[in-house]
Symmetry: C2
């Protein structure tokens, strides 16, 4: 393609309201254009990138026995009523009525549609296992769209659904898909992606993994261990602490005026937050009842773990919302007698001599030792967020580190949540009716493209891996008004096209600086610069966008050499290449 | 792929509520599954067919300089308010509100989105012309979904938008696209598709063509001339009649009791409908005013032509809706004095001695000669549907024929309807601001697949052209429990896959009859049958689905021979092959 025909503006200025580098570069490079909040049109370079990602996804899905199908974007609400999600999912599910007044939704995930397609079809055990997948538009009415294609409302997703006759078979297939996902991320150029255990959220099921690209701008907090292979999403990571032995002291109420916060309290008593036992209050959405968590003062509550323990959605207590005799700011376990579920976090196991609220305005207890001062035996529950320096649940060392990451894929062992509620059955070898077991496996295409941009770039633009680059070769014809340059560049362009190379040819009458900065923004891996100077020496300058190579190459063998260079670069991203890593 | 793993049921029974053959075959063959009214999931065979159609579309669009982009499915209503279509389009446009209460729509066509993407980008004449296209899901809340994938509510469409700086440039490009469309239909296997002039409907613009596949189950009526190349959609075809000379007679009122219909009148007076002048009544939606059309009694009103003439949507008059002193059933031009717009159709030019209503219950005039009996000069308007035997507007012979067809594509010269309302401008060579001129070009992918099925089938199933067939080769292994058959079939399967042939391998332990009827329903062009008998003779039976070929072929050279056969069949559908037709 010739640059003179490529639609899209490239510019130097940082656009307003940009949070992250990939968003800035994709706007500045003419990749995307915002149409509405979290809704984008894609210019040709992005479309070419996403098509290549999709081809890699299809290849890896087909290799693990997937068959591509297509579900609708618009779905009758009835299907989601069958599974119960029409009611249970919040307003990120877009509900609407069609012209006849029927309830409908925009698909944000397609478990229901997958069961609908398969349930009258796979009726015998002999039809199992199978996996169906699609690459399709989805809509999630995201309250916090941000970061360009990283978090949007409309997106294209590869979503796959597998069906099995035993948990063991699901687990085996889950492992195959897990490996395929690692190959996919390696093939699109971000082999550093790793999997962490995660919460299954609204999808249901017990085991789930997220594939995470480590990056400072990530929305997720990941928990890793430097001493062993432990990797987890913060959401589900256990928090294991070892409390230092402290001398016991007597429980005593002391006056602590104006100490509503831990910091004020520590300031007054000359202690650290670790030496306190604080109270954190929530309400269960299910029955609006109060939940009080007592936790070591330096730690935070992990709301996902709390929600899963309580089996209810929760919200932070709002003191103004209910009338109560709770002494906010001075709550403690001793003498607390408001109506509430009380939870002691595991961080309090073995603690001694803490400071905690006395349930009386401007008073705290000192010398609090939970297992001594609480009369009944305490059932400690793990609801704290883990932290840097906590104990690794696998190797037991104090080596937990938290880092940030972008979720670029996820896989779930769904179990029978959907097949059961939607009444999908098959007859087993003995003619008995059974419920199939499902797994599901998702990758967002646009987010993946933006994540690669985030991870593979310099100050001047993206450095696209050749496996997904919009073009393989970028010809810069400097001084295209020079007949020799024009003739040479056009010949190289035609020859490369004839050899099946994907070429972007900058044929515009613009300055070298302008041309190179556009080329940097387009991030094509191989650049060929042709100028009056190079022509006079019978060469072209060939360089790689990642700056690892720059060399004059003879014009007479140039296009063969470039074809070979493309093949060699591409070969590093093949299925076979990443299999042997 | 192995049949034992392919999801989808195939069966013999005709499903309920089916209107047309392609719908029956695509349901019986495990191609599609209804999810809601006019909303389908696609099984793997259909997905493979549509992907091949999409590849052909991309190839032909790229060859005429198109660049692929992607617009959103969900669009802020603001864009459609800019163009005026948020208000002007009826309830087939799905409107909804997002979680923040913003008006949004589901894209049913993307002119607004195309202008939005291009308007800040193509600001200089040097950026023109260009064409952008996408292949994307659309939703049209169709009141009359029918015929499987022929008329649906959710569908995938290739839609293209070109932008020009002169009408001449648009017309040249329109012609290029017109030719590309003919190549596309030839390449997917229905070269009989022809273009007709059509009404531009809600798209606006003056010149438009529809590409029509002639078929009895078509929803459109086409007007063709057997004597010349004239082709038109009924919607816009002029109706040209030659009235026989009849003797004049005196205008006379006669009693015609109980003759509310033309048939009853003709019966009583022993005349033919052609000898009458009837009245057809409509209301304009724009101001609810009455319109009376006088037309030769054997003809019908073409509502599209009438709507375009009146520049208003219309509806048939409902006698119960308004109070009036109109004598329904006995309306005629002489003495008609209700408040209404009066239109005389061109079919009345030169008529003499007609029977027409006397505006008095149970009375008609005889001897009515319009140009004599109507005092003021009549401005005859063409609002009649043309008919078999009418006069061709091109060659002038009485050779008009009407046939049925499915619309498989359409192209429009839009002019500046969208660029103007949406304020898209560029600076011309003199630095003056100008408004670009647009064209748009659409093809529905699912409808095209179903149309090919409708046109290329026999009683047993579709006969897919190899260019879009779900697989190229179908291996039927009869008695796969026989070790020699199993070994041979597996070897042929692996060799063909290694040679890049797309193979469906029926490895199931089912009877020959069952296997062949499934193969017929899947419609794969080349079939290889391997049985104990063929193996013992060192051959396989090779046949074509269209029954034009059936022959034993030696096993030792089979896979090379099949590879060649595939290439030869494919070559007939290449761009180059259809260019030389």
């Amino acid at each position: 393609m010739k640059m003179s025909q490529l639609l899209g503006l490239r510019f130097k200025e940082t656009p307003a309201d940009c949070q992250i580098a990939s968003q800035i570069l994709m706007l500045r490079g003419g990749y995307i254009k915002g149409v509405g909040n979290g809704i984008y049109s894609l210019f040709t370079p992005t479309k070419r990138i996403t098509q290549k990602i999709e081809a890699i996804l299809r290849d890896e899905m087909d290799r693990i026995g997937g068959q591509e199908v297509m579900f609708p974007v618009t779905l009758p609400a009835d299907l989601w009523k069958e599974s119960g999600r029409f009611e249970s999912v919040g307003s990120e599910l877009l509900r609407f009525k069609d012209r006849s007044g029927n309830d409908m939704i925009l698909g944000m995930t397609h478990e229901e549609a997958a069961v609908h397609l398969a349930r009258n079809t796979a009726q015998s055990y002999a039809d199992y296992p199978f996996m169906i997948y699609q690459i399709q538009t989805k809509f999630r009415d995201e309250p916090r769209a941000r970061g360009g294609l990283i978090r949007v409302r409309e997106f294209t997703m590869k979503d796959a659904y597998s069906f099995h006759t035993s948990q063991e078979d699901l687990e085996n297939y889950y492992k195959e898909c897990y490996d395929a996902y690692h190959r996919i991320f390696a093939r699109v150029g971000i082999p550093e992606v790793f999997a962490v255990k995660s919460d299954s959220g609204m999808m249901g099921g017990k085991v789930a993994h997220e594939f995470m690209l480590p990056t400072e701008i990530g929305e997720d907090t990941l928990v890793i261990c430097d001493e062993c292979d432990y990797r987890s999403n913060m959401e589900v990571a256990p928090c294991i602490v070892e409390n230092e032995v402290a001398p016991d002291a007597e429980l005593e109420m002391v006056s602590t005026p104006d100490t509503k916060t831990i910091d004020e309290l520590c300031e007054l008593l000359k202690i650290t937050p670790k030496q306190t036992c604080k109270a954190v209050l929530y309400r269960k959405e299910i029955d609006d009842s109060l939940v009080v968590i007592f936790i070591r003062g330096d730690l935070e509550v992990n709301e996902i773990k709390l929600r899963n323990y309580l089996k209810s959605e929760i919200r932070p207590e709002n003191a103004d919302e209910h009338e109560s005799d709770i002494t906010y700011g001075f709550i403690g376990p001793v003498g607390f007698n408001a109506k509430a579920s009380i939870i002691f976090d595991r961080s309090l196991i073995g603690t001694h001599n803490l400071v905690t609220g006395a349930n009386k305005t401007d008073f705290h207890y000192i010398g609090f030792t939970p297992e001594r001062d609480i009369p009944s035996p305490i059932d400690f529950i793990d609801v704290a967020k883990t932290y840097d320096g906590a104990i690794c649940p696998i190797c037991g060392k104090k080596s937990i580190k938290t880092i940030r990451g972008i979720e670029v894929g996820n896989i779930f062992q769904l179990g029978t949540k959907y097949t059961d509620t939607m009444n999908m059955r098959y007859s087993d070898k003995n003619g008995e009716m059974q419920t199939p077991i499902m797994g599901c496996y998702g990758i967002g295409i646009g987010r993946l493209a933006a994540s690669v941009c985030e991870a593979r770039r310099d100050d001047y633009g993206p450095i696209w891996p050749i496996s997904i680059a919009p073009w393989q070769v970028h010809i810069c014809a400097l001084r295209s008004d020079n007949p020799l340059v024009a003739e040479t560049a056009n010949r190289v362009y035609s020859e490369l096209l004839a050899k099946g190379v994907e070429v972007l040819f900058d044929d515009r009458p613009v300055s070298a600086g302008f041309m190179f900065s556009d080329a940097d923004l387009l991030g094509v891996p191989i650049r060929i610069t042709i100028s009056p100077k190079t022509c006079s020496r019978g060469v072209a300058e060939v360089s790689l966008r990642d700056k690892s190579f720059k060399q004059d190459m003879q014009l007479d063998t140039l296009t063969d050499d470039i074809r070979n260079m493309v093949d060699e670069l591409l070969s590093k991203f093949s299925h076979e290449a990443v299999m042997t890593r």
